[in-house]
Symmetry: C3
Subunit: 614 residues, 3 copies
């Protein structure tokens, strides 16, 4: 309280976290069932963080008490601008209580009908039929791990159990705060695999997340690291498209838990901060203000180092970044109005990874989605990252990479979208299974999607990393061979134009890229994993055809746009070390207040923010 | 029953499996001790397959009941041509019941004499003496894993416990079937490491196995994959040499559990089927008829795909293969009469792998045996793969690779074999230990084998993968240097002709390949691991000397021969993608019915089956 | 007893080991708590060796009984020259008794003040505060592993618990031996990571250790293997600098537990034995006399092989080595009087490895220490390997590599050392934390060391293995660029001369190597990890400056010196395969008795021992 007062009196607001992310030792000793049980069924001991059982009634009770006290004490503090529940949810619990809740969840999901579950999970195979929901265990490591549907539902349940737990804390805060209008968030972790964040996002008022890119690593360029971070921002922002998000945690210097913890080069932190704003954030926070003298994160980058002074390189960079952000303050509240979208879904990711086929190390669903997103960025097009539950009609182009799991009605929605004039691109490994991981019959992609596309995928060839193939694309003036890796489906073309054909192997000359006109739109199918750069002209064509403006962005420039009530804000980031000339730019340079018109040079790792009245 | 009726009325017979391979969940819940205990002593939970305890009385009781019902119901069904017990035995159980049976087994093995066990296991070392059989545990991961004899006997016991369990099912079927003449089998898995299949083979009427080569992979040629599959067939067939075996499971398309699951190229399935027949099989079966919509093998190749139609590439290939096999129907029942043999034994494999010396990653016993087998195939010589318990006198040449464990009397039998005129080739790492893993004293190879060979192996140099050496072979017109890798023994030559000498290192010019004439035969010793191709002329010489016909097989052709009552059947498989000319072939082409005499071209992946009257 | 009698009557003395290293099965069955509990809290089963609980009262009781019997029976045997307690201590135990002793240890360490512990372990971070010592668990795998101080103290406690256990055996022997003057030892294992041997060394009368270099491997030269073994000898010898140590175990041939177990080439065993003597040993022992017929070490090199004869290469080499050693008998008792020292500490090693920063695979503390030691050897300077507890004043030069953990008063002692005229070289990653792993504030290296050196390390850049940088050194006639890998600190230079500057990256031209004069000495700082060969001239300069004689040792020659009461003994080992000429050598060749003066050629793997009167 004293701290919040002091901060407030110095013009600093507080986002206050509830303390449930780290349990005290006495609590674990007194109530062992607040600790998790691992995938072998063994209860953890006290230690680390994040290992409390989400289902534990005792833990919920204790957390309610402390949250109530916090809410009662500082809930109407004038410096309090947001609540932050717990910390970086993650992991699973296999305790008996979670097991019981899982069974409840399954009863609800399958209408209390064990036959329905048996059908959807296809348990007749290997004699795995259940006669009662009470017979179903979580997928213990040393238990049943061979039923796709079970594995999937366990992950879905875990997300929902986090959501359920999150409600407990939110309710406690709301109920006991004198100021119930203060928004509540929790901190996500980008493409964290274990939780479908969309389930949790519905419960909170704003999206917040922790971003720790491995800058200057040995496996990608700086530009790639930046683009990957931008995609993560898009995934996070996409969960609440019409309001800005928060960068809750970032490190101004090194982090201390990576295989190699390299220093951020000068200017990188600032450019990273500007990029995050450009991607739709309204705040840049740090973990941590000052390095902790001991324990697990004693070397994790902080604003103030162990030396304790304000003259370090890092401190000065943070200070400069703060001054820069102040100049951008009018950007606050502005949003995006994207015309292209890419479907990316957590349960599809889990379903692909759980599928017993394809290549063990080459599925890479999330990075394939990212690659399409980055490719659009090269044309100045920032896409929304959406789920199949989102409204489709606000977009002109939708890219559907590897939608292995095609849920009910989605094929129909995509068909309607095209009929009304939209353009879609569907790729290999789409429409194989329904939402319970049961295969579609009658030809992939199932559930009517094959009709929209006019093709059936009869077989899929999984290539070894040393294999490759090619697609000869020859239409509308494009005449080139695109490299194929990892996956190549063999198509039957029922009713579609063939735009590209394989160049090698026994399926040489068969269709690899097709297009079918439907209603007022077009449905494209890409049957093989292609070099994303090889697809450039093809994707540019999709944009043009669907009526999305293609901007002429120089290589090495990352471009973003935010739209405020009265002005637009365009961001140009030079993600190389070289000087790049921008041409035909126009607007007020927010850093200087000067109007720019025509050309301007951007130095390595520099950026430009241009404002134009609406 | 209805299914069997329908099949029968459509001319399709049934091989009926007992259902014990997959336990229902209610059984596990009601009788937890039917589930296995793992190597840490922790009982499994319900899940997957194949994890029932082989010793469980309760499980045996339940299996007996269901087997009896099956036998009583369909045991005399006219469509039933074979019983198939359980499925792909594998794994181990460390429960108390298995422990007790293990102790019983040890009592019997060591004549109820704990001193004998202590001597053979050399337990004085590290104070490991047992004072009673009841003190002996299985080699739990967190227990006693440092006694070679214990580890070995545990594996032997596991094989015997499977055999014991197999008897329970066989007895139940025999006792309750109205037609007790129906043969019984179970499905093996080629060179599966965990079970000495020869122990189980004695219990069944025919050998059946499941063959899933990884075709078109990134580490060997198609020809090598085929040859490896052929060797597996030889290992399987070798357990019942005088009757054909069954291919119980194969996938016409991809499989779904490999690191990369590539499509079988056109024609490969058919050539694979012909090869299996050529190797001595009388049937080609599939797992699975139709892809399962869900669960663990939903993408495992099947005759009918999820599309459900009969116009897929795979379906058509299976259909064509069926037509081809019909043309070969007269081959049924024919066998082989091989003159060469290679010794390959499971307990020797285990003993080598358990030995605390040599190179951790370079032992490769089974693939070394395969390499010799494949080398003989290049000269048109198909060898039997035998154990030291088999009759040796039917052969002219016996190759003995890495027979680390030399059991009682085997040295004498090999000596007798040579004395009567046989030729043997013994390699490095032979005759080090007796059947309990106790070292022979007085010089390796022990137990008199050194006398037959006229050499003693004083030391063995284990090379790093980056090391090599050479052997200069210079005799009978051969004058070449053969590359040496991995292992090089340093010999004392007492009474043998030196055919090759090392070219490098401190043992340069010492003996590396020797020959000693004994009685009417010859005993060769190869002291180092050589490039198998470097050994070509040497091995060709062994064949010629021992009176085995060397055929002039073009490179890229795989040759097999089966012998029926009235005719021989010769198989030529082109395992390349190029056209190869066969010369001097003679006989009826079974595919066309035409007589061939002289030359014929075989296209890539084509084959020829020639019949000649006896 | 009979054996000792026989040996004694044949002129062979006995070092007698107590049998506690290997527990009999009956003991484990009767008293399960003599067995250890693993890091998951699960009790081991009987097996292997070395897994008894160091805290078990029952085990101590039983060991006392048998030690007493041994002492009473043979304690005054005339052939008994030394006692050897147990065998190769190693591993940890997490049982309740060890946990209780750990808590006692912590109470003592932190003055029974839980607040002190909480402060030093910085437990406020992540809510890890303890309210009582009874709440503290060992760092179980599934418990608290995120507190640096806890992890460190657990390792320190384990060393002290070994020491405590060692006392039990020593006391039992001393109390019950009629001849209490017989010295007692135990066998160490060189740079074994798990125990701070210095804690145990205080309890024993002589250092003994087991040396098994992997000669002729695929990752270093023979010379490097020899030098690494020499460094190990220095580490061992350094624990009792003023008396010779024993080589308790070595294998004359191969060992049988390495990934690849290559033969020792002819002459290597002899040169290795001479080297060990040269390093300060007074004995060369073997494990084992004769290969054990069975069990875990049946192929481990021995004097007598399974063949059982005395005409093997190995037997003859051992015999020759024995004859050689006899010629060196007057060297017995001579010691070393080294002028340079390198600080190497176990708890610093653990602290670095536990630190959550830097590169996961590039810390390599022990091999960095070794590299400096070897570099000095190239100038004919053998350094002592010391701890910060050792007396510093006997040295002229002290090298302090990566002294991450700077204990209380050490900065002051180093400052005093320099003040009095000593030279020190401190490297990157020094002085970050105190003895409890709590970070120093106010700038690294902390606790005043930054004042001695005149620099502050503001940031550390952790490089990927594919990164590099350089240091341009330009002073006193040296003008070269030294390669930098892995770590580069960015310095603030307050009061020091800059000898080298970075050549690349954003910290190009900033200080990388500095020197500050203090009192009568000099304090050097090396801020980055440099190619050790690149540092040659720099290190040679340190030697010259500090008044240590630099000898002109030809490349490929390893040089050692021992000092007896009346003479010095110089050892020259040719660790190449080529002939090398030694010039300006002088003295009596102990192998021949002849005086040498001037030049002499040493053949590959040959050696020369020269005596000169004092």
């Amino acid at each position: 309280m004293q701290i919040m007062d002091d901060l407030y009196q110095n013009g600093i607001s507080t986002i206050l976290a509830t303390p449930s992310g780290a349990r005290p030792v006495w609590l674990d000793n007194k109530y062992p069932d607040v600790m998790r049980v691992d995938a072998n069924g063994v209860r953890n001991r006290h230690g680390g963080r994040h290992n409390h059982c989400m289902s534990s009634e005792k833990y919920r009770e204790k957390v309610r008490i402390i949250d109530r006290k916090l809410a009662e004490t500082v809930g109407d503090h004038p410096g309090l601008i947001m609540w932050h529940v717990s910390n970086e949810f993650g992991g699973e619990c296999f305790c008996d209580k979670c097991k019981a809740k899982f069974r409840e969840y399954l009863r609800e999901r399958f209408h209390n009908n064990i036959d329905e579950l048996n059908h959807e999970w296809w348990t007749t195979f290997w004699s795995a039929r259940y006669s009662d929901f009470e017979e179903i265990d979580p997928p213990y490591n040393n238990g049943q791990t061979a039923i796709m549907g079970l594995n999937l539902e366990w992950k879905r349940f875990t997300s929902r159990n986090y959501s359920d737990y999150l409600s407990v804390e939110i309710d406690a805060i709301r109920e006991h705060s004198k100021n119930a209008s203060i928004p509540i968030t929790t901190n996500f972790m980008g493409r964290y695999y274990g939780i479908d964040y969309r389930v949790l996002a519905k419960k909170i008022d704003a999206i917040a997340w922790d971003s720790y890119p491995a800058f200057h690593n040995d496996h990608e360029t700086y530009r790639d690291t930046m683009m990957s971070a931008a995609f993560d921002n898009a995934v996070m922002r996409g969960m609440k498209k019409d309001r800005p998000f928060l960068l809750m945690e970032s490190a101004p210097g090194l982090v201390n838990w990576m295989p190699f913890n390299k220093l951020k080069r000068p200017g990188v932190h600032e450019q990273f901060a500007i990029q995050t704003i450009a991607c739709g954030a309204d705040s840049i926070q740090y973990f941590q203000m000052r390095k902790s003298r001991g324990a697990a994160e004693q070397f994790h980058g902080a604003v103030i180092d162990h030396i304790g002074t304000n003259d370090t390189r890092i401190f000065k960079e943070v200070k400069k970044t703060g001054e820069t952000l102040r100049k951008l303050s009018e950007v606050e509240g502005s949003i995006k109005n994207n015309e292209a979208a890419i479907i990316f879904e957590w349960d599809n990711w889990w379903a692909i990874d759980g599928a017993g086929a394809f290549g063990g190390s080459t599925k890479k669903y999330d990075s394939i989605c990212r690659d399409y997103w980055v490719k659009l960025m090269e044309f100045g097009v920032e896409a929304d990252v959406i789920s199949t539950e989102d409204e489709l009609d606000r977009y002109k182009l939708i890219i559907v990479p590897m939608l292995f799991m095609l849920k009910d009605d989605i094929a129909k929605e995509l068909t309607d979208f095209v009929e009304k004039g939209g353009t879609i691109l569907v790729t290999y490994i789409s429409g194989y299974v329904n939402e319970n991981c049961l295969c579609y019959q009658g030809g992939f992609p199932g559930d009517g999607l094959k009709k929209l596309l006019g093709v059936i995928s009869e077989e899929i060839d999984t290539l070894y990393p040393s294999d490759n193939n090619g697609i000869h694309v020859n239409y509308k003036g494009i005449d080139k061979i695109i490299e194929v890796r990892d996956y190549a489906e063999i198509l039957r073309v029922d009713d579609a134009q063939i735009l590209g054909r394989y160049t090698e192997d026994f399926y040489k000359d068969t269709a690899a890229i097709t297009c079918r006109c439907h209603g007022n739109g077009k449905a494209y199918y890409q049957a093989a994993r292609c070099s994303i750069d090889g697809l450039s002209e093809f994707i540019k064509g999709l944009l043009t055809e669907s009526g999305i403006e293609v901007k002429d962005i120089p290589a090495g420039i990352e471009y973003h746009k935010r739209i405020g009530k009265e002005a637009t804000y365009e961001f140009y980031l030079n993600v190389t070390s070289d000087i790049i000339e921008l041409t035909n730019v126009e607007g007020i340079n927010l850093m200087t207040g000067n109007r720019i018109s025509g050309s301007i040079n951007l130095g390595g790792r520099e950026y430009l923010v241009l404002k134009n009245k609406l």
